[in-house]
Each structure stands twice: as structure tokens, then as C-alpha cells.
Symmetry: C2
Amino acid sequence: MVKQERAVRTRAGLVRSAAAEFDRDGYAGTSLSQISKAAGVSMGAVTFHFASKADLAEAVREEGRAVTRVTLERVTAERTSALRAVVDLTVELTRLMERDVVVRAGARLARELGEGGSWSDVWLPTVRDLLDEAHRAGQLRDGAPPEDVTILVEYLTGGAEASPHSRPGAENEPEGPVGRLNRVWRVALAGVSATGDTGAAHSAPEARRAGEG
Amino acid sequence: MVKQERAVRTRAGLVRSAAAEFDRDGYAGTSLSQISKAAGVSMGAVTFHFASKADLAEAVREEGRAVTRVTLERVTAERTSALRAVVDLTVELTRLMERDVVVRAGARLARELGEGGSWSDVWLPTVRDLLDEAHRAGQLRDGAPPEDVTILVEYLTGGAEASPHSRPGAENEPEGPVGRLNRVWRVALAGVSATGDTGAAHSAPEARRAGEG
């Protein structure tokens, strides 16, 4: 039992160490021995848990998807208006990408390895559902069909991810990726929303929180 | 003289071959010998032109920046309204990223290597100047300050670049990255522009061209 718990801890630690290496050096630039060194465990312990670098990369991607799904469920559970939920979701995903090395590495691995789907495959279908609902509720401006707004959301979140300002170390900058995304949303919402805002009363605290970030 | 011309051709061919390898496998995943094989020249010829992989990567980045600057100058020279020029520029940059492996590899190398600036450093200052001009000309909506619209432009172009739909092979999809970007712009412009469009008469042909892409 104790042994099993230790094995689980080692496995989780390996996934996290591997994520840090993949995040920095990419899939091709990372070796199993480099991960074993970074995790402080023997190569034997690494290969006990993972037969290959590909297996370890898949574990990082799966863990990144799982963490992302938790955020997705929390935001949709707390939601008031559908359009507000979309904006909140992009902010929370950007925050997650900034703070969680496993999510960041998983997204990078998905880009580099191709097969198995991209990071946005986890959350974009939910965005599309929410935007269809917002459309039915009359929250979207005429001329802003849900399918086009979905692409906008994908690009804004992808842009926040790819921007040099969301690279590790950017936390020290006066304004992080979350603050920047909120400024972009304030401009873009006038093109998206029927009323120019998200029609939700709790948008002010969100904007304040972003201003601090 | 003939020898010199051949050397120049070999150098240019090497940069292009290296770009294709860097684009596919990233900096860490690409070796000089892999590039020599792909280019069909000896390792001696490679090292005659480039002392190291880092030198070759810098040559790819510089060539990518040079090609980007040509597009930048053409679009700003042809421009009618400043806001229209910004939209045209993002479309042309997305097209360039889709079609030119050197530009694509240069942008990837800039992301991976960090130092020396990102791809957007080449064109984002021009975007900012154009948006300041658009602001002075009353083309921007109140509530759409040039600095925030600049981030929007950065994210839309970065998103078009990062989207799985702009990966090589996406040309076969019914709608390419350029068509998708145009759809996003039709939504976002209502948040950006004082009049809801770019105020330029020649926006229709551009939209038609995008629809084909």
C-alpha cells in the first residue's frame, strides 16, 4: 500500500518534471534521461512507469486535458449568461496556460505532434454550444453568427497563448496575458454582443481582478 | 564569377532546405546533417556557408524577416485608409505564413529560441502607427483605443498562425486561414471601426479574394 502510494507519487512527479522539460525544449529536444535527471529519479524508475518518451508525452497531454476540463466545468457551472461564460472561459484558460506548466506543455506537444487533437479541441466545442445558446437568447449582435464568433474566441485564446507576453517570466511585466486579453475583449465585445457588453452584472469584479494580474 | 553565383545559389537553397526542416521538427529536433541530406549537398558545403546550426537558424530568421518587410512595404504603399491597411496587412501576413516555409520557420524559431525578437516585432510597430493614424482620422470607435486594437490585431494574426487550420496541409480544407480571418474581421470590425467597416471602397474585392482562399 505504502509502496503503491509512492509509485503514484513518483508517476505524478515524473509527469510534472517531463512537462517542464517539454515546455522548455519541445518534444524533439527532450530526452528520457534529461527527464530522469530533472525528476531526480533513476532511468529504471522512469521506464517502470513509461515505456517510451511518446508514452510520457501522452501522459502530459492527458493530464493537461484533464486540468482543462476541470476549469471548463467550473466556469460553465458558475455561469450566468452564456456570452459572459464564454468571456470568463477564455480568461480562465489564459490564466491556466500562464500558470500550469502541464497545460502549457500539453498544448505545445499537441501542436508539435499533431495526432490526437489540439488543446482547443477540449474546450472549443463547449464555446460553440455556449455561443449557439447566446445566439438563441438574442445576446449576439446581428452580423455576429456563432460560428464566426467561435473562430474569434479561438484566435483570441490562441493569440494570448502564442504572444511573447505569455511566455514564462512574463509574470513580472506590469500587465500579464489576462489583463491584455481583457482589454482586447472590451474592444471586441462591441462587435460580438447585441448590447455591447456581456449583459451580466458580475463583469466588474472580473475586470478588476484582471487589472491586478 | 560563375563559382560565386553557384555559391550564392547553394546558400539560398540551404536556407530554404533548413527552413523546411526547422518548420517540421523545430530547432532542437533538427541537425546539420539532416539539413545537408535534405538540401542534397555535402556537410562540407554546409559548414562552408554556416559555421553552426545556430548560424543557419539566424539566416532563416533573417530571410523570414526580409520577406515579411517586403509584404509590409507593399501593403502600406498601396493603402487607402489606415484602418483598411491594418486589415489588409493581417490578411497578407496570414497568407505569407501559410505559403512561405521560410517565414513560418522563422516565426517558429523566434518562438523557440526567444532572443532576437519575435516575428510580430517586424510588423507590429507599423500596425501601431497605422492605428494611431486611424485614431487621429476618427476611424476608430470610441472605446477602441489604438493600443488595445493593436493587441487585438496581434492576437488575430497570432491566432491565425497558431490555429491547427493553418498547419501545412490545411490548403485542402474547404476554407483556409485567410478565409477564416476575414470572417473574424467582419465580426471584430464592428467593435473597432467608428462606422462598422473600414471605410474603404475596395474592401469588396478583398473579401471575394478571401472567399476563394
